[in-house]
Symmetry: C2
Subunit: 203 residues, 2 copies
């Protein structure tokens, strides 16, 4: 099973690395880190990840995942990425966070239910998608996850669908995913929500 993780300058590292840590553990998984050019790309908070093959190397795949970024133009205006995505033969087209806006801009979400980071949810309708405020949204062969850390929930859910619940639960045990978040998102003060909303996505 060939799995492509798109990497690009300015992306959010955890959007890709969370699902990678799950999906790379699927039996028979063959993972590639794909970008416009081979070599390191800088992510939005400093860590560098390495692109090991280019878009041209992969006309087909079983699964592609596009991570997000706070700088929306990096996913809404990347014509090379959009062209590749729109021509890619793939069984599963997936995204984490604002990566779904790249799927939308490539014309892959028209009429489909999809999600993205909560602070960018209203932007999905620009691409004909139906925005859904859920953590993981499946519609046909498309799967989109909400912001950043939601990629882990998405990937475990997908792992269960692809390889069975015992494999999904086994991977969850392997990465000891038994979350204990110290805060509640639902209880966040409205002022804090607005502060984070204005910082979380930049057009």
């Amino acid at each position: 099973m060939k799995i492509l993780f798109v990497l690009y300058e300015g992306m959010t590292a955890l959007d890709a690395v969370g699902p990678y840590e799950v999906l790379a553990r699927l039996p028979g998984a063959e993972v590639h880190f794909v970008g416009a050019a081979r070599g390191p790309v800088g992510t939005d908070a400093g860590i560098r990840l390495v692109v090991d093959s280019t878009f041209d190397d992969h006309p087909t795949t079983d699964l592609v995942l596009v991570p997000g970024t706070a700088q929306l133009r990096l996913v809404t205006e990347r014509s090379v990425l959009h062209e590749w995505l729109s021509g890619l033969q793939t069984t599963w087209t997936t995204s984490v966070c604002t990566g779904s806006l790249a799927l939308g801009a490539a014309g892959l979400l028209d009429g489909r239910r999809a999600t993205t980071h909560w602070a960018a949810l209203d932007r999905l309708s620009r691409y004909g998608a139906v925005p859904v405020a859920e953590r993981v949204v499946f519609d046909g062969n498309t799967a989109t996850a909400a912001g950043v850390s939601a990629g882990i929930d998405f990937a475990l859910t997908l792992a269960g669908r692809l390889a069975g619940d015992l494999v999904g639960q086994g991977i969850q045990l392997g990465i000891e995913y038994d979350p204990r978040p110290p805060y509640s998102i639902a209880d966040a003060p409205a002022e804090l929500v607005e502060l984070v909303r204005s910082a979380a996505v930049v057009a």
Copy 2:
């Protein structure tokens, strides 16, 4: 605030990238990715991360984080890492997953409460540490997290201690950490637990 993430060949990427995505968002955070030599390191399931400075570049820091690996010898036998850790002047010494065994081997956990991946918990006592089956364990200036994904809970907890709960909760909102794991770890069948135990850590 200077924060060092140790990177090494064979590590588990999410152990570092989870906490990085949280701690790099702290006000005034200055993050570095430190290893034996500059350049890309391969992680245990394929993605490559880039070391941007060497141990010698950093005799002091505010915080150091050591990620883990399934191949325990990579953390228990890395004398260059142990020597550096034991001489490092730091306010916070931290680890995720089996990274705590490196802290132990460096003599930093003697008599301290600490945790690690559930499948390796019994190994902590070899270094004089008191193994604790909790997700995040603080003891003095040492903080250790359980397996892989526990680094996110650890980092958010630490962010709250360092910068206040409003900052911690704001970062949690930013990375939309509102987990919905598809499976329960507590309900895993005993046979699956034993299967994962034997694969999760290799001496």
